[in-house]
């Protein structure tokens, strides 16, 4: 088992097992020294452990769980559901989840239920190496990131092991372990549009009447709409990430008149719908997730995740531990969290366009060509493949929007839950049914 670990972490510097040693103090830290008494008991016990990881399909991926299970010696069982369903599960049936894979806005909404337990940061070996974007809320040059919406930093820390509130600054306890994040923007079909797109305002350009789509998740759809309306100069927001009732009203009214004029072809609610709308040419410009763009390109259809001058809509995700985890199971969960940062997952997720909270280890697990393409904004020197081995981009192609620094350095707002959330949901329903 020890050998397997070394094999998997070919970076050499990763000492995942050392945590385990700490947990199994009975073993006397003799795991590697050839004494096979107590560690065997540990190994036997841990083999029976099963952790259910539940979260959205773009993050809870069977390949990642399988690799983690193989490396760690216990079982990670993935279950992919929408964030909204995860919120309901965590609130009403917390015992059906062990590890919750959160988008920050979902976690923000249900953290006060008390069904998650804070993560003891001292047990996360590589915490200090987590990117300042997530850990400190700072951009690459040390300046503050946009505060519009839910900046991950604002909901990352909590006061203590029993707190249900978010802390103002850094503490020793985290609500979730930051895992993946990205800068979202509009997806376009350059072959069907024929001219360069540079602003969010194009989403509501009458030229694309009947050829646009918005995501039908109220809290995210309204942000894309706000980016576009603001770019068109129709509405000026004090804070797009936390609109007042008047701002919500203005936005929804503008959306209703756009809908009446036939601007929208559809409102998608699942990943597949967004892929199909774009691949079939039903829409040419729409809200999109990065892996959806990857999926379309893998089919040989041109699709660009277009960086726009007003900036990106950022989001992040993280792993949360459920309150009911204790003892050996909790130790195993911590071990899984530590595994998550060691790079294999970061590299896997990079190939669908996401960034890892710990870029250093992710980069070490990518080839120089992949590093250049996904993180450094360089032209591909060989074909770029998606996580499942399908050819996604050709030699010479560059990532849309450029490097990690260019993309993440230009976040205009973050996915969020607004104070007026309930009112927003009501008005959004009105928009959809108008």
């Amino acid at each position: 088992m020890a050998r397997k670990t070394t094999q998997a972490s070919d970076q050499g510097k990763l000492t995942r097992r050392s945590l385990l040693k700490g947990g199994a103090a009975v073993a006397g830290g003799v795991l590697g020294s050839g004494v096979v008494g107590a560690p065997m008991i540990w190994a036997q016990n841990i083999k029976d452990i099963t952790l259910r990881e539940v979260g959205p399909s773009f993050s809870v991926i069977a390949d990642i769980s399988a690799k983690a299970s193989a490396d760690l010696g216990f079982k990670i069982v993935p279950q992919a559901i929408e964030t909204t369903q995860l919120m309901a599960k965590v609130v009403t049936q917390p015992e059906t989840v062990d590890i919750a894979d959160w988008e920050y806005w979902g976690m923000q909404k249900v953290y006060r239920s008390g069904n998650l337990q804070p993560i003891d940061i001292s047990k996360i070996k590589l915490w200090d190496k987590i990117t300042p974007l997530m850990k400190d809320g700072k951009s690459f040059d040390g300046s503050d990131l946009s505060r519009q919406g839910t900046l991950p930093f604002n909901v990352l820390y909590t006061e203590g092991p029993d707190s249900k509130l978010f802390a103002k600054g850094k503490t020793g306890y985290a609500t979730v372990l930051p895992t993946i994040f990205n800068a979202d923007t509009l997806g376009i079909r350059p072959d069907l549009i024929g001219h360069p797109i540079s602003s969010w305002s194009e989403l509501f350009d009458p030229a694309f009447k009947g050829k646009t789509a918005l995501v039908n998740i109220p809290s995210i759809g309204i942000m894309d709409a706000a980016m576009a309306l603001e770019a068109r100069g129709e509405i000026k927001y004090a804070n797009k990430g936390n609109m007042t009732r008047e701002e919500i009203d203005k936005t929804i009214n503008a959306l209703i008149s756009l809908k009446k004029s036939g601007q929208f072809r559809a409102f998608w609610s699942t990943f597949d719908q967004s892929v199909n709308l774009m691949a079939a040419g039903e829409v040419v410009i729409q809200s999109m997730w990065s892996p959806a763009v990857t999926a379309i390109k893998s089919r040989g259809i041109p699709c660009v995740y277009q960086g726009l001058k007003e900036g990106y809509r950022g989001w992040g995700a993280g792993l949360g531990l459920m309150r009911h985890l204790t003892g050996l199971k909790l130790e195993a969960a911590y071990e899984y969290l530590n595994w998550y940062l060691t790079g294999w997952q970061g590299a896997f997720i990079a190939r669908q366009g996401y960034y890892s909270a710990l870029p250093e280890t992710a980069l070490a697990n990518l080839t120089p060509n992949e590093r250049g393409y996904w993180y450094e904004g360089k032209a591909a020197t060989a074909v770029i493949k998606d996580p499942y081995g399908n050819v996604m981009d050709k030699v010479g192609a560059k990532r849309d929007g450029g490097s990690f620094q260019q993309r993440m350095g230009n976040i205009a707002c973050w996915n969020t839950v607004m104070d007026e959330d309930r009112y927003l949901v009501q008005r959004w329903n009105q928009f959809i049914s108008s």
């Binding site: 909204t84 369903q85 809908k259 409102f267 998608w268 039903e282 309930r422 949901v425 049914s433 108008s434």
Partner: protein, 291 residues
Amino acid sequence: MSSRSNSAGGRFSSYLQVAPMALLMFTLVGIPLVIVVLLSFWQTDGITIYREFTWSNYASVLNSPVTLALFIKTIKFALITLIITTIIGFTCSYFLVFYVRNLKLQIGLLLVCTIPFWTSDVIRMVSWIPFLGREGIFNSILMRLGLISHPLSVLLYSDFSVVLAYVYLFTLFMIVPIFNSMSKINPNIIEAARDAGASKWMILTNLIVPLCKTGIALGSIFVVTLVMGDFFVVNVMSGGQSASVVSAMKNNIDQLYYPQAAAMAILLVVLVLLLVTAILRVVDIRRELAR
């Protein structure tokens, strides 16, 4: 029933007979419904539900212009679907009963009607999408024939495509009950009417339609309740452009506002009950079935 159960023993045995069904209805319909009713009067902060009485869920649902629009839209879909499925259902049954004389062929053809039901209705519905899309088969055929110059957008992600899917999915629920009551019509009655000088049209309107009332009513109940309770078809086939009462409920549930969703659910139950009662007022199904 009253005529049969005079003795105490008879009453006991009939209670025993209804017991399993009553138990099933009580546990699987009664209890959940009571919980939904209670929930609709409770308060929530988005996480915890407080068991304190409030009218506010109903007030916010009833005061919102969305609710009325949604109910009107859903009823509109239900009525259009009902009319089309009734016409198709009646015509198919008429053909099967009065034109196909061979019993085996009759049953065989009825089975043919069920072929689409051999697979999941999700697949059946989704397969319309590539057919109706802008670059879909139907549009390319029309364009190749030179009938249109631009692809028709209205075929997909529109009210048209929603109704089309409803009709496609639910027509069988109309065919079967109408076929059932039509096949019970005694041919001698039609013979007698013809001998008495009735025209084909008179036989149809004065004889066959009234005698099929039960089937039409049963089918209507199926179709109306299915459409009123749907959110999946409307979501997929309208491309999210159209909402139904249930899809608004789902939006509330997604955001953990259960009491509001419960209030809406109760309103929907009341409306469907009213519609079903109206149908039963027109046709006394129990009497007709006992016939």
